[in-house]
Amino acid sequence: MTISLNAFLLVAGLLFAIGFFGVLLRRNTLVLYMCLELMLNATTLALVAFSRFNGTADGNTFVFFIITVAAAEVAVGLAIIVQLYRLRRTVQVDELTALRD
């Protein structure tokens, strides 16, 4: 029983939506951060699926770049969150609204 392309795309789409709404709703910055990574992974899944079913190689090579970029983002992101926690003693997104009009 082979899994069709649409199934993969469906899963990728779902993952992406979950990630998006996670960012939208979760209050903790770290969880929010995980959701962002989730969205990136969703795109990698879709990419690999396309590459496999279309028989083209570019998708696979692209995945590695996405993973490295995600890693860089995580490194910088966590550094900022840690420093922010040290200063503001909170990671709740709703309390981090010092900058507003």
Binding site: L24, L25, V93, D94, L96, A98, D101
Partner: protein, 637 residues
């Protein structure tokens, strides 16, 4: 000196004197006075050469002044019999008044400015007299208005003088409003405003489209000659020095209106003449009634001038449209030349001009006489404070008496001839008008004799008149000359010499009509003068006020009426309306954009508040953004 160069010199002489005075002689009073008087003398001399020149053909010249598209406006001269007649009045009377003002203004602080003003006036007046097209007349029309503004405002420290000059200029401008509208209409209708060309086109059967055109042109005369609706400024204009009142508000400027009417009588239509007639009659009657209750000697003369101007306008109104016969012949270059045969001058215009000339003489005489009286009584103008002056100022008394005799129409004086011509014309054309004019003549003699008796007879009623003394030679000499002119002005051997073709057209009664007119004028004289002489005692109070306060009050209100009406209009109606408009302007027209700006700033505040600061809020924006992109991409939007 060809006639054209003399006319040009005639016009530019006063301008030159005025400029020299304005630029260099502001402090040098005597030199300025001398210059202005010599200029006046020069004008009189040049005018004499022009008027008494051998050949009677009209002197014409013109210079193209401004071309813009269809308009090519040129300034030029047309010195025909009518112009020569008016020129004689302006030049001779003007010169005499210049001489008189030497004495009268002798110890005035701003003499240079006064004489400069006189020269400017002479320049503008001569401009009107000599002009050959309506544009040029209009230009000098306003310049004359300006010079009268300048001269009325001579004693500019006095608030009343300032208000009077402002009133004079504005009322003149109201008249000019209609005048200019008429000129524009005439230009668009006939393509030209040149008088000779107008006469030619009318001669070839040109038709006046609507009577509004002549009536609009008449507006100019109403403004300048202070006819009924716009007569309020003339009595106030007495604020100016007396020579100014004599020159401008008696002899020349106010006559310009009638002169202009005669200039354009080709454009008149029957019912336009009817309107002019009745306005003239109304002014004459109204002014005569007002004159009866005046205390100030100059105000009496001012109202009498108004009345006489009414006479002249009525006379013009009685006349018919000019009948023009002409002869055309081909010039070498193919252009058609129009040789105007001597134009059959309408009787009305001739009578009006005749009365204008004689009136100029005796009214100038009366004003200068009153000036000499005022000077003698150390600037006292109220006739009830004078009295018994006939002993102290004999020359002034006798010349003044000749003037009074002329105006009341004592037979065989100039006033008698010209006024009777008008009465005879009225008698021929319109009985009702004849009746009113005769009544006005009676009133005229009534108030003149009243003023004459109160001023000169009885005993001196104030300290000034007690010590009154005869004025100097420079003031009495012009009086004598004018007295002579007032006497001989009407005779057949003098007037035609200056009037040319105008003289023949004057309606003269012959045979039985002649004697009837003679008896009529004697009747008028005796009734009016007798009543005045018996009625008025020369005491400090006005006997009419004492005898019948009701009548006096009625006449008083009659005089105040128009002034109060105009005063109410300007102060209340016009100023209120201006205030309301100003309020509306600042509130609405300025307010609306401010409200707009306010609304925009609310939007601004709203947009600014969207930045709530929380990341969740911002992610919602992203959701909205992604949705928007998706919608546009799939063509939903």
């Amino acid at each position: 000196m060809t006639p054209v160069t003399t006319t040009l010199a005639l016009l530019l002489l006063p301008l030159a004197s005025a400029t020299v005075i304005a630029l260099f002689l502001r402090r040098r009073h005597n030199l300025a006075a001398a210059l202005s008087v010599t200029a006046a003398a020069g004008i009189a001399a040049l005018a004499a050469t022009l008027i008494f020149a051998a050949d009677r053909t009209p002197v014409t010249a013109s210079l193209e002044w401004l071309t813009l598209g269809p308009l090519n406006l040129s300034l030029g001269f047309l010195v025909d019999d009518l112009a020569k007649l008016m020129l004689s009045v302006v030049a001779f009377v003007g010169f005499l008044i210049h001489v008189f003002s030497l004495g009268y203004m002798h110890d005035d602080a701003a003499k240079a400015r006064f004489f400069g003003g006189l020269s400017v006036f002479m320049f503008s007046m001569l401009g009107i007299v000599l002009a050959d097209n309506l544009f040029m007349i209009f230009i000098f029309w306003e310049l004359v208005g300006f010079s009268s503004y300048l001269l009325i405002n001579h004693y500019n420290q006095k608030q009343s003088a300032a208000d009077a000059s402002k009133k004079a200029f504005i009322v003149n401008r109201v008249g000019d409003f209609g005048f200019l509208l008429g000129i524009i209409w005439c230009w668009w209708q006939f393509g030209t405003t040149n008088l000779t060309e107008l006469t030619a086109t009318m001669g070839e059967g040109g038709v006046i489209v609507s009577t509004a055109l002549p009536l609009l042109l008449f507006c100019g005369a109403v403004g300048k000659s202070a006819q009924f609706p716009l007569q309020v400024w003339l009595p106030d204009a007495m604020e100016g020095p007396t020579p100014v009142s004599a020159l401008i508000h008696a002899a020349t400027m106010v006559a310009a209106g009638i002169y202009m009417l005669c200039r354009i009588d080709v454009l008149m239509t029957a019912d336009a003449l009817q309107v002019i007639l009745w306005i003239g009659v109304a002014t004459a009657a109204y002014a005569a009634l007002c004159a009866v209750v005046q205390r100030d000697i100059k105000k009496v003369l001012a109202y009498s001038t108004l009345s006489q101007l009414g006479y002249m306008v009525a006379a013009f109104g009685l006349g018919s449209q000019a009948t023009i016969s002409h002869q055309e012949y081909q010039l070498l270059d193919g252009k058609v030349a129009i040789d105007l045969l001597p134009v059959l001058v309408p009787a009305g215009a001739a009578a009006a001009m005749f009365h204008l000339t004689t009136h100029a003489f005796f009214k100038a005489l009366l004003f200068l006489g009153s000036g000499s009286v005022i000077a003698g009584c150390h600037h006292e103008q109220d006739i009830f404070k004078m009295g018994g002056l006939w002993k102290k100022m004999p020359v002034t008394f006798w010349t003044f008496t000749i003037g009074v005799a002329a105006i009341v129409g004592l037979p065989f004086l100039s006033g008698f001839f010209s006024k009777d011509a008008i009465l005879y014309l009225a008698f021929q054309n319109n009985k009702a008008v004849f009746g009113i004019l005769t009544a006005t003549a009676v009133l005229t003699s009534f108030y003149m004799i009243r003023m004459w008796k109160i001023t000169f007879f009885g005993e001196a009623r104030s300290h000034e008149s007690e010590h009154a003394h005869e004025t100097g030679l420079t003031m009495t000499l012009p009086l004598v000359v004018l007295a002579v002119l007032s006497v001989i002005g009407g005779y057949g051997w003098f007037f035609p010499s200056i009037a040319g073709s105008f003289a023949e057209a004057i309606p003269v009664a012959h045979g039985t009509a002649h004697t009837a007119m003679l008896l009529l004028s004697i009747g008028i004289l005796s009734v009016g003068a007798g009543a005045a002489w018996l009625f008025y005692k020369s005491e400090p109070t006005d006997t009419l006020a004492a005898k019948s306060p009701a009548a006096f009050g009625l006449l008083e209100r009659l005089k105040e009426g128009p002034d109060r009406f105009y005063g109410y209009y300007v102060a209340k109606v016009q100023q209120r309306f201006a205030m309301v408009l100003n309020f509306l302007d600042t509130i609405f027209v300025a307010g609306l954009p401010r409200v707009g700006a306010e609304i925009v700033s609310w939007f601004g505040a709203g947009a600014r508040l969207l930045h709530v600061g929380s990341i969740h809020g911002y992610v919602y924006w992203f959701l909205f953004g992604a949705a928007l992109c998706w919608a546009i991409a799939t063509g939903l939007l």
